[in-house]
Symmetry: C2
């Protein structure tokens, strides 16, 4: 695979000089058109030729308008980056629709870490798997992902360094480059595996030979230009139509919500005693989790007026004010809409030792967005897998993840709506739309059922909480949060 | 000052219960109106009563709509926060126009650090000074800043903890709270000094007694409501009219640009040799700076077509790709416009060991925005002091800061414009507006002169670079960058 690319391609200087002016004009034109387009562009540059990659980055920044090109270099992750799941930094660097980002590095380090025994075979596979799924999510969302692997045969690299030794700019290469050249041939099989495993439909790796600089720069720039022009000229191929709705005749079937015993209650005295006990326990566990750098993500979904906020307000007083953030999730803003829908949730993934509480979550994609038609069937149907991969990355990083569906009966909901209407400051929490949403109760039940069935994992199960009795629900939630932390740090 | 506040204020339960519903409705109304207003609200909560502050935070999150209230708790700064100037995290947490943030903590830690001898008297004064200036900048920009110091006399705190000892929720207080109560009386003089030093016109500290919870919560919420309603009802007092333009009859005077010898040149051979030497030296120094955690900020201003980009492209090849970012500064986006103009530059302050290169900078405020009238005289005139304080914070943090004005003659500029017109891919860099801007040359000269005179500091001087010969200019810039790093890590 890599050998095939090392065909000794070169481009004569005159041809290069003749080609560049037109190429630059077209690149700038395409970049300009991109600014008003509804997709983002990620150009990934990996390879075994560090100096070549640096030169290529400088070249692309010269040929393109660098004001509209964000370059991110993924060096060895440091403190703040290590405190969150590995791919956080990819999501942080993701461009919004209309912009182009150039990403450099990351792949060879993973290969090297595997060869050095720091990363096991299984870990490397998992890394490739997450990377593939992440790309698939972006591409399905419309992103144009262009990936280049810059390959310069070891013999060529060595010769180049030897020649440079006598020159003024010998400082440009150092021991890392020698080591790379020395160990490259042994690494090729692993590199090829990683390239294969991280190729996805719509975003294969383009292997570029780095022996001749002019060939290298022209072929990368031309590939970017061709892909960008093609994409600007025509919309992406329609995403696969939604698969057949497997739960279409749901009203014939029992759902997970049918099993919830909504009659459960707790007396006021028992509630008070148990609340104090659980909050005290939670406080001690949260303290230990912070010291051990274990972070926690609590995801709350449930019917309107089910009591999510009340449950959250029984958790937070047991935490240190600086340790947690509550994210009340509303409809995405104009800016957020320019990214993949998971982007804003990745942004709020807590760093090690912290707690993030989501009042409504990424599951909006398969609940409200599905039921209201804000997401197409193809979009919400692929969301299950996207969410599973997101949560798997949290769990693998060591995050304690608990997901709650707070359940109430339609009758209880109606009674609460009426009570809200009669309380001046609660009127704000109730609109005509809330009443209209009640008509879609069955559609939501179907969506909740499918969500729970498809996204329950051993390390990230759904907890269906009986909410008709608020006190009972609050204790049930607290108990699960405590249990989750017990398992992690108890 | 604090004693005066400890007057034993209480509010009976019935009065509290009667007052709350109306208060909540009005708070929610004001919050709703804020969402379409053109100013931001920062509510700062400091104090000596940690538990009281936590309760108050929960209370405000209950009374206000927490979806539109961002709570930031400033705990002991950790890794990523220590790697940037201290106030970076305030700027990071700054809300945009239309939103409200609740900031908790930070002040007592500074007091305590001083009393423990970790922070000298001079450092404490400087901290207060930066805090005052920062607030002044935000307030002048339209922000509503409301500051509360929650004071509960030591005797009251001790009594409260003793009483709690026997209760189920004894976990709520810990050794920190006892220590605070024990050492509070001795700390009062320092607290009072800090409160005095950080009070600014338009944002004094409101001292709230925390002995009675109902009094505490009601008085804070009412103060927020009154200030917010008043501000929503009427625009802020007009900012002071611009001071008299001291450089009005500038064309009679010599300017700093008059002294620049634009005839300086360098031969191609000398250039090549010197470039390689300087880049090699820069590479070694940058490597050392990274290892020592010293960060660098390079600020480039200059006439259109002066060669800023070319100079920057001679610096970056000497740096490791992962260590630097080039920020090409264009007009602020819609989102950026909702913040103080320095916000986006604070966002890009590099962390320790990294390099940030700005192609156009925060000086746009006193250059293009002044000359084109995008900023009012009051706005650009106060910008000098705001910028000085920003840069002083960088320098105090240990950042190597170098500022360049790349200077060319009007004739040279015209020649370059014409040349650009004749190069297909450079046409993009030239518009009719560029030609029109030439008519304002003298106004820009005046603005540059005043900028250089008012914002040159020993640790952050302006370097005026003769740019008519591009090669000469590139070497001059490189030399200054190398010299700055030599002083810091040489």
């Amino acid at each position: 695979m890599l050998d095939d690319a090392a065909a000794g391609n070169t481009i004569p200087k005159d041809d290069f000089t003749a080609a560049v002016p037109d190429l630059r004009v077209r690149l700038l034109n395409a970049q300009f058109d991109l600014s008003s387009a509804d997709f983002a562009v990620v150009v990934v540059l990996a390879g075994d030729d560090r100096l070549g990659a640096n030169e290529l980055v400088n070249r692309l920044n010269e040929w393109l308008d660098s004001r509209f090109l964000d370059t991110s270099v993924f060096t060895v992750p440091e403190g703040p980056e290590l405190a969150r799941p590995a791919f956080s930094r990819l999501w942080d660097a993701l461009p919004p629709a209309g912009r182009m980002s150039l990403w450099v590095g990351g792949l060879m380090r993973q290969v090297r870490a595997h060869l050095d025994g720091e990363v096991t075979e299984a870990e490397l596979r998992r890394w490739c798997d997450h990377l593939r799924r992440t790309q698939e999510a972006w591409i399905a969302d419309g992103a144009l992902v262009l990936k280049f692997y810059l390959h310069t045969p070891a013999a060529v690299q060595k010769k180049r360094y030897k020649k440079r030794r006598k020159r003024d700019d010998a400082w440009r290469y150092d021991h890392r480059d020698w080591e790379m050249a020395r160990s490259l041939d042994a690494a090729v099989p692993t590199i090829e595996t990683v390239l294969r495993e991280t190729s996805v439909t719509g975003a294969p790796w383009t292997i570029v030979e780095g022996t001749d600089k002019r060939y290298r720069d022209l072929s990368v720039a031309r590939t970017i230009l061709a892909a960008l022009e093609a994409r600007l000229a025509s919309p992406p191929p329609a995403t696969a139509a939604g698969v057949l709705e497997q739960f279409a005749d749901l009203d014939q079937q029992a759902t997970v919500l049918d099993h919830v015993d909504l009659s459960a209650t707790v007396t006021k005295d028992d509630y008070r005693a148990e609340l104090a006990r659980l909050q005290g326990r939670l406080h001690r566990l949260a303290d230990r989790a912070r010291r051990r750098g274990v972070s926690t993500v609590l995801a709350f979904e449930g019917w309107d007026a089910a009591g999510k906020g009340g449950a959250i307000r029984r958790i937070t007083p047991a935490l240190e004010a600086g340790d947690y953030r509550v994210h009340a999730v509303a409809a995405p803003t104009e800016e957020e809409r320019r990214y993949h829908y998971l982007w804003r949730f990745w942004r709020d993934v807590p760093r090690d030792g912290r707690v993030a509480i989501f009042d409504r979550t990424w599951y909006g994609r398969v609940l409200v967005e599905r039921v209201e038609g804000f997401a197409s069937p193809a979009e919400w149907q692929r969301a299950y897998d996207e969410i599973l991969d997101f949560e798997a990355q949290l769990v693998e990083h060591g995050v304690v993840l608990a997901k709650f569906w707070v359940h109430i009966s339609p009758e209880e909901q109606l009674a609460r709506f009426e009570a809200r209407r009669d309380t001046p400051y609660k009127k704000y929490k109730i609109t005509e739309e809330d009443y209209r949403n009640r008509e879609k109760w069955d559609a939501y039940v179907a969506a909740v059922d499918q969500m729970v069935v498809r996204t329950s994992m051993p390390d990230a199960p759904w907890h269906i909480v009986a909410g008709n009795d608020k006190r009972y629900a609050r204790l049930a939630v607290l108990r699960e949060v405590v249990a989750g932390l017990e398992r992690a740090v108890g």
